[in-house]
């Protein structure tokens, strides 16, 4: 054995694969980062019970991180530091790993958002179909830039990578509602509909 426990596999054909497997198998050695099987540590005290119910629903398997984070975000609206810490504790990993995942995917947010999140696709197909003009229309209508939230907490505007709606670009999502074939002049009407809901 050498000093780094996983380095011992160096020199075998499978060591790169092994590293990945090792990360997955941390569920078995749940103590790798001192993570407790049952979340009961002080970290979790800061997350409320609805959050803990969701967290405890999933196993300690790190492969569950994405669905777990999705469900937590749906419940709370965003992934707070407390939530990320509780998830790290549950999955037996570091908070940095959870934060890394949460900040990598654009559909996760580590900050509170407005009631309606406007996600406008700015991938090349939508760009070619005129997403930039649509973006300007949304910005003018809401009076905010990308990444910002209106003062009344109603809307958050984001540009995102491909929504998988290239056939109907420019495309946009407002929460779970999908809009395609957008033109700038359609924007005020669409957004007004959400204002009227309240």
């Amino acid at each position: 054995m050498v000093f780094a426990p996983r380095v011992e596999d160096k020199g075998t054909a499978a060591f790169i694969l092994h590293r990945q497997m090792n990360i997955e198998s941390q569920t078995v050695h749940d103590t790798t980062y001192g993570g407790a099987i049952h979340v009961s540590s002080s970290n979790s005290d800061h997350a409320d019970s609805a959050v803990m119910t969701i967290i405890n629903k999933y196993g300690c398997d790190q492969r569950n991180m994405l669905p777990l984070l999705h469900e937590l975000q749906a419940e709370v609206g965003y992934l707070s530091p407390e939530i990320m810490e509780a998830v790290a504790e549950r999955l037996g990993t570091t908070v940095g790993q959870v934060h890394g995942v949460a900040t990598f995917y654009s559909l996760f947010s580590t900050e509170p958002k407005g009631r309606y999140v406007v996600r406008l696709c700015d991938s090349p197909p939508c760009h070619i179909e005129g997403s930039k003009a649509v973006l300007e229309a949304v910005k003018a209508e809401l009076g905010i830039s990308e990444g910002e939230t209106t003062e009344d907490g109603m809307f958050t505007l984001e540009t995102v990578s491909c929504l998988g709606l290239c056939g109907v670009g420019p495309a946009m999502m407002v929460n779970d509602d999908v809009y395609g074939n957008l033109k700038p002049e359609m924007i005020p009407h669409i957004l007004a509909g959400y204002r009227e809901e309240n």
Binding site: M1, T103, I144, A192
Partner: protein, 599 residues
């Protein structure tokens, strides 16, 4: 192991099946440049600087993680390879501050080295540069602008130390290696071991250097500035002056420090001997009185912070002895001050350590037992060499001189504190004598030496078989601690844990680069130093005996407890949040309600 035959640049190479192209090339003495690869770490293959052409492969392959196969033909410097390498390094340089002259890594930077090797005389790409604030919240300073995202620090912290303080976050252009939740290093679980610094190819990570304050103290006539040097420094500081790893420069270093203007140059080894007296006595007391066993060593402040975070329930196992650095500090401003008739408030106590965690240790609130800050400043080996260079001192060519009294006298047992297994060996040499009243015939205890992650031995002391274990690197320490929790070490008496790979000789403040070969050379130098000493057991140190006679009384005395022992603080593994601003919605520019228009 099965062998395969491959060709690299037309040369026949026979290598182990399953090795990488890089390993095969290295075994044949063929150089392939690497950047994100480090021999201590599992390769990630992210930087692609080691790209090579493999016959039959459509694209270039990363040599650091591409496995060899029989009959493979590898070309390491075809036009395609050279162009790709150049492009990779040029793109890195396009987003790199051109501060080489004032950078802490000047002339030691691997990116700088490649720019030269690849003959890059112009950066063709001009564009936006990432700019971030420097994080100087902890003894380890992060300068994200200089980070090239190789991930070595991340892998070091994850794989060697199992701490995971640093992690890549965000995406694409914004990708950044950040502590914990993206705040400052001081706010997250970090043990300040500095192993990330040792493996950073650029100047993105460095330690906080107190040299300016020390210069000021040296030239302040009202201050009496004393310095102590840790065991491991003597076996490595020569490297900063171009000497090969493993060159012992103890007495030249003493001369250099005297020339720098320190009023007294003394040796941490003296208090290492004292540590053995205290810690050995504590161990014997625990064995005789049924105290918590196994007892675990406490010299390594990175290790101490680690157990405070991750295994606070095991803290009763940790010896209450301070580290030799802090014992020295406490005695300097009490016993030494009295003896020299100097007001302790005018003493400036400096230590030269192979360690960045010592910078955190000397700031701990428990470390004021003299009534003053026991150790004022900690210089790493690198920073001490920096001061010498600034003063124009050419260490390799100096004359030799001796350490000053009263803390200059030490033994071979003290100097091996610098190696993994050294504290254990020193303790066993003394424990044997204290328990049996006889001396060990052969003082070298080979079982506890070496670079294995966890080593174990049983020493027969009289009719008492003493089981002992040694671990270095915190991932190995974690295994041992899990073992203690599961009862595997129930019949063990003594466990030595050092935070860094190889012990202090591989510390986060040591000269760069680091790898196992360099660490082994330094360890060898430390053992040679031990062999060269007349006295090789701590309890035989006459200066330590005198200190007990004149001042402390006996080991574990009331005074010893006051000055030489400490307590520990369980730490919450929760990110400290200094500001709640991040959890509020971001900027609001306009009131949307004013703009409502309905068709």
């Amino acid at each position: 192991m099965a062998k395969v035959n491959i060709k690299i640049d037309g040369q026949d190479v026979i290598c182990d099946a399953g090795s990488t192209i890089l390993e095969a090339a290295q075994s044949a003495g063929i150089y392939i440049p690497t950047l994100c690869y480090h021999s201590d770490l599992i390769p990630d293959g992210v930087c692609r600087v080691c790209s090579v052409e493999v016959k039959g492969q459509r694209t270039l392959c990363a040599a650091c993680c591409f496995p060899v196969s029989d009959g493979m033909e590898v070309m390491t410097h075809t036009p395609k390879v050279r162009e790709a390498r150049r492009m990779i390094v040029e793109l890195m340089l396009a987003n790199h501050p051109g501060e080489c002259l004032t950078c802490s890594k000047n002339q030691k930077c691997e990116l700088q080295k490649f720019a030269k090797e690849l003959g890059i005389s112009d950066i063709r790409f001009k564009g936006e540069r990432r700019q971030y604030d420097i994080d100087a919240s902890s003894p380890i300073i992060r300068d994200p602008d200089k980070c090239i995202l190789c991930g070595r620090c991340v892998r070091t912290c994850d794989d060697i130390q199992s701490v995971g303080a640093l992690h890549p976050a965000y995406r694409g252009w914004e990708t950044l290696v950040v502590p914990g939740l993206g705040g400052e290093l001081a706010d997250v679980v970090c043990v300040n071991c500095g192993q990330c610094i040792n493996r950073c190819p650029t100047g993105a990570l460095k330690a906080k250097d107190p040299a300016p304050e020390i210069w000021e103290a040296i030239y302040d006539p009202t201050k009496h500035v004393i310095v102590q040097t840790a065991p491991a420094v003597r076996a490595s500081i020569g490297e900063e002056f171009g000497l090969p790893p493993g060159t012992r420069v103890t007495k030249k270093m003493v001369t250099a420090l005297k020339m720098l203007g320190f009023d007294r140059v003394m040796d941490t080894d003296f208090t290492a001997d004292l540590t053995i007296m205290e810690e050995g006595s504590e161990l014997i007391k625990r064995i005789k009185e049924g105290g918590v066993l196994p007892q675990i060593t406490s010299c390594s402040p990175g290790w101490i912070k680690f157990i405070e975070y991750y295994y606070p329930e095991l803290l009763p196992h940790v010896s209450t002895c301070k580290s030799p650095q802090q014992m020295f500090g406490a005695l300097a401003k009490t016993y030494y001050a009295q003896k020299m008739n100097i007001d302790p408030k005018n003493i400036v106590s400096v230590s030269i350590m192979p360690c960045t965690a010592k910078k955190f240790e000397c700031e701990r609130p428990e470390m004021y037992s003299s009534g003053y800050k026991d150790v004022d400043y900690v210089l790493t080996t690198r920073e001490a060499a920096g001061m010498m260079k600034e003063a124009g001192i050419d260490l390799p060519n100096l004359r030799e001189s001796e350490y000053d009294d009263p803390f200059g006298m030490s033994t071979g047992a003290a100097v091996i504190f610098g190696n993994t297994g050294g504290v254990m060996e020193a303790a066993l040499r003394t424990a044997y004598a204290l328990i049996t009243g006889r001396e060990l015939e052969k003082v070298e205890i080979e079982d506890v030496r070496g670079m294995e992650g966890v080593r174990e031995t049983t020493i027969q002391i009289g009719d008492l078989p003493v089981k002992a274990a040694v671990a270095h690197g915190l991932a190995n320490a974690r295994q041992v601690l899990e073992g203690i929790k599961s009862g595997r070490f129930a019949d063990y008496a003594f466990i030595e844990i050092m935070c860094c790979p190889g012990g202090c000789i591989g510390g986060g403040g040591q000269p760069q680069p680091t790898n196992e070969e360099i660490r082994k050379a330094r360890a060898r130098a430390i053992y040679e130093e031990d062999e060269s000493m007349t006295i090789r057991k701590s309890h035989e140190n006459p200066a330590v005996q005198k200190l007990y006679e004149e001042f402390l009384g006996h080991p574990l005395s009331h005074k010893s407890h006051e000055l030489l022992h400490t307590h520990y603080t369980p730490r919450e593994r929760r990110t400290i949040r200094r500001s709640e601003e991040t959890s509020k919605p971001k900027t609001t520019k306009a009131d949307s309600s004013k703009k409502v228009k309905v068709d």
